[in-house]
Symmetry: C3
Subunit: 480 residues, 3 copies
Amino acid sequence: MAELKIISVVMAAGASTRMRSPLSKLLHPLLGYSIIERAWNQASFISSDVCMIIGHQRDEIKKSLEAYWQASGHLEGKKCLWVVQDPPLGTGDALKKALSVLEKESDEAQVFIMGGDAVLLRPTTLKDFFQNHFQTKSVLSFLSAHFQPNNSYGRVVRDSQGNVQKIVEAKNASPEQLQITEINAGFYLCSLGLLREAISKITANAKTAEFYLTDAIEYARGQNLLVTAAVLMDATESLGINNQEDLFMARRVLQNRINQRWMIEGVRMDDPSSTWIDEAVEIDVPAHLEMGVQLRGHTKIQSGVRVGSYSIVEDSVLAADSVIEAFSHLKQAQVGAESQVGPFARLRAGTNLAEKVKIGNFVEVKKSSFARGAKANHLSYIGDTQIGEDSNIGAGTITCNYDGYDKHKTLIGKNVFIGSNSSLVAPVELGDGAVVGAGSVITANLPAHSLGLARSDQKVLNEGGKKFREKRQKSSKFES
Amino acid sequence: MAELKIISVVMAAGASTRMRSPLSKLLHPLLGYSIIERAWNQASFISSDVCMIIGHQRDEIKKSLEAYWQASGHLEGKKCLWVVQDPPLGTGDALKKALSVLEKESDEAQVFIMGGDAVLLRPTTLKDFFQNHFQTKSVLSFLSAHFQPNNSYGRVVRDSQGNVQKIVEAKNASPEQLQITEINAGFYLCSLGLLREAISKITANAKTAEFYLTDAIEYARGQNLLVTAAVLMDATESLGINNQEDLFMARRVLQNRINQRWMIEGVRMDDPSSTWIDEAVEIDVPAHLEMGVQLRGHTKIQSGVRVGSYSIVEDSVLAADSVIEAFSHLKQAQVGAESQVGPFARLRAGTNLAEKVKIGNFVEVKKSSFARGAKANHLSYIGDTQIGEDSNIGAGTITCNYDGYDKHKTLIGKNVFIGSNSSLVAPVELGDGAVVGAGSVITANLPAHSLGLARSDQKVLNEGGKKFREKRQKSSKFES
Amino acid sequence: MAELKIISVVMAAGASTRMRSPLSKLLHPLLGYSIIERAWNQASFISSDVCMIIGHQRDEIKKSLEAYWQASGHLEGKKCLWVVQDPPLGTGDALKKALSVLEKESDEAQVFIMGGDAVLLRPTTLKDFFQNHFQTKSVLSFLSAHFQPNNSYGRVVRDSQGNVQKIVEAKNASPEQLQITEINAGFYLCSLGLLREAISKITANAKTAEFYLTDAIEYARGQNLLVTAAVLMDATESLGINNQEDLFMARRVLQNRINQRWMIEGVRMDDPSSTWIDEAVEIDVPAHLEMGVQLRGHTKIQSGVRVGSYSIVEDSVLAADSVIEAFSHLKQAQVGAESQVGPFARLRAGTNLAEKVKIGNFVEVKKSSFARGAKANHLSYIGDTQIGEDSNIGAGTITCNYDGYDKHKTLIGKNVFIGSNSSLVAPVELGDGAVVGAGSVITANLPAHSLGLARSDQKVLNEGGKKFREKRQKSSKFES
């Protein structure tokens, strides 16, 4: 038994029409991984050879998995056998096609069969299922679950000793059988030999006979071979994804697992039911996530971090003791230790904040770095800019990085002070310790420690305000 | 039976004190329609004549329904009979008042009676209820539902054959009767003749006798006439709205129905439990709504649209393949095909974006149009402005449309490039291809293809920054 | 019985390792109060003397409670006896330590014992529990609750007459006892005398004997004394907080209570399940809270207020008929009657708005006051500023309150009109009726009714835009 080979067969050829989407249901995302990626992970968890039955959108599915393997390295030590089934004539036909590429495998090899859209099995469930199969020396095992009677799943019919006899599809079930709460969850494990035998015997019986996977159970029982149904303690693991509602249900099941795991790890969540955490996110504790936080993609959070309400953090790194205040939007950003961001801050791709940086409200940062202690606290746009230590960017400062054709760089040294409402017309360089007067438009470089001003002297017209009002009042067409 | 007339009676006279609101509970909104509008729709679904019993805030209720009919055309082919009941002496009294305006109707006419605050019946439920009434040839039918025993609703008492005998109010019920789980849901259908007879007989019995609607059941049974209770499969349909908690419950029930319907239609929702969709919203699939999205009023969404997390879209149109990023706030705005809006964008009434327009973060647009390909990506206020094709509005641009008295217009041609932090003092016109230098205050028109500048030359004071710091450091009272 | 003394003992010495936080679990916040503050309130609700058994982080806990008493006055008329238990050797040992400081108390005194982390008892529950204890003349009462069988709580074993016999810990329970659904909720009330006796007898039995609180029950039954278990109707009241998941559960239980109470009071909530209201918040009805609103700390809301979706209001006052639009962020701010704030507004500490003030989108206000009717509608930063009646702050206005060293004040009189994109360099004063031209940098005071301008004249270079483009096009490295 030590050298037993397990081969997975994933049914991924269906047309997924009930999803009502131009995108195959298998390519829909589910907390950071597509359904097909999750199917691959589940199928390859114990077996090294995975047979993927594809049909509808097969090129897209193949490409998508190949890209996933490249990025994740999850093909290493594994083998994927692509099998095309087109048109999709059902799982029996798919299985026959799978067997044709497994001709060289021995009858003792075990085949694990699953739907490509049923990806909620826990690793521990799979392990127990496999172990039980081998310990009971079953020729065929399948997972079952208990559901309320009013459902359309196949019923598991057991004899008086509790031994599985067969699966009866709901449409063929007698009224008594319909009362059976144990249903077929759709995951099978059986020897390749039995599968070969059952298919050849059943389809030989009559020209028109179609083979159903569940027929193999009756076949095996007819040979007096042991068939075992392992009952899922948590019926949600059997969920298949056929429409948008299923997709949400699956997300909720997985999200509950992820969030519960992080809470037990020590993550404080004000409201896990409104907290989105993708599967690949990493969090060091202590960490505090306020209501409605979203952590997406490969975000990493170091210890001591707080993320404020409704903030969205995607593919970003938040270093130790940094704080993201409410309503912030981060994507591909690095936030240094003890830095403070938000509320209402937007950090776009290429933002790199060092330690103790402050980015305040209504500030957008793109492809820019802030050195230790630098600040931009209010209403600014900082793009394609490098800012030195302890520099202060005044409220309303805009880096004019775009001239309608090219993007240009702004270089700001250490200890620079930029007055409010300034415009820095790139390319431009401000030396260490330079000061820019409020409201200036800086178009040329500033030497270190210089003062740059580009604004007019103030003129005061006494009674000018009064005259302005009198004039306006006369011409005014409406008060608003 | 073909010419059977059905008349609805809606009990809408109550004072709704438990709502603790200056606004009648019937005027509270419920996913885009007020409760009284929903009551009207439910009552007029099968019958063409609706008798509205009003009392508390009757003028407001009348006005509100009249405005609704005008806007929706939902009075067409229908008749509303207003009956004033003041003071509100209960449903028996209300019914007597209703009968007085129905004097010319025949005894064979059927009366459907409902509370004005019980508006969660599904159309299919109503149809089945009516059909069953006629098929069973009942003189009186009512809807019942199964509830947990500890409730205060009237119990449905049936005999050993399962025939309805009477309804016993909870306060009058015996301990055994209190264990009955079938309760009166409060919707009745009976012949006008029976109603007339029951009222005249019961109130004649004793001078002080008050008539209760449920008495009609016992009366009919006394005459050996058939009374039928049709059990609601979904007990939530019977919910009446008496306080703020009920109002929320009703919203949740309706929201679940709406969201489930849209998911089955193919709308992808990351989290339907946090997604608000008003009843009148229209969505073409595919569409993707992220967490916490609100679609309100008469919003229309064409196919291929994605609405980002927490965005609020009210009475707006999002054309095909447009994207609204997170934290955006749209009201009475038109977004063209393939346009991109947000995050943190605010589109106010009168915003009209053509195709492929981009509105970025911290940008407010009001009564303005953007032609194809025009952009305002950062920190801008655009009001009363017309912008031509492919023009680019730099970060921090403000249209100064208000002089304290009037709002003025800004006209911007095609291919105009406005440098950052510019102010456009309206009324002003910028010709095609004009360029405005960063930080300029434009007070006069710019001819096509001209360059407008209104800013000072840059002065650099060497060591000026250093001197500034030394001076400030001396006078500084505190470091902050 | 009139002079019966009740002494509470709170077990607050544990190490709370499962919280996985550097902060003791008792110092974690729970809807505006820390767990230890809630424990104090619960313990001191009926008794005037509270014995706090502390160990882990005892200094922090002591300091925190002392600060709470100072701020709230909740120590008045009460006495707190601090008892240190270090190392934490269990509740029996803690109780012995408590008894040593209660030596002078009479045997008739009653002791209420609770865990410091079990703070969800309703006041009515406590009252009923105490009353029942005295009415039944029990020597020992404890609270029990019904749970699903698969739990790890101690089972309440009753005899055939229903009298409590003992509590059996789950690990010591027989398979039959494990089926008992009534569990020990962990709150006890018993006479000091019994406690003294039980401890001395039980620990004398054997040198190694450890005393468990539940042993006292068996001891009392052995003496044929009455022990009563009062069953909690709502099992969630027994919840103890041991990890982050429990902390969230406790918040949800309390939040449901708070939100339901406010709805019954007449607060309209679009979605109570996403609405956060701290315990100390005060609301006058009518009030309308949209989805995802957070009211924190000591926020007070007067009648007629609406708070828009996702807005966060902390330690602030919203006066009558004021409106906070969506995505606003208020902290320590005062909003005057009929004022309008947001969407996307941020009011920081020291913001003081009088009546009919308007603060619009992307506006930040800090330590500033707005007099009646003043407005700042778009994209502004107003800090350390006083603004007079009916003044209008144009879009993009920045108060330059910081020079890198000090914060300076800006004083703006009545009826002042500030043009868009202006910078006000503080310290600066603008007299009543002054007008500032758009785009001006105001560095010196403006007399009343004067007009201040600090901007350049506009230059127009015909064909300058065209030339600019030709030049840029030539040098352009990439189109973006």
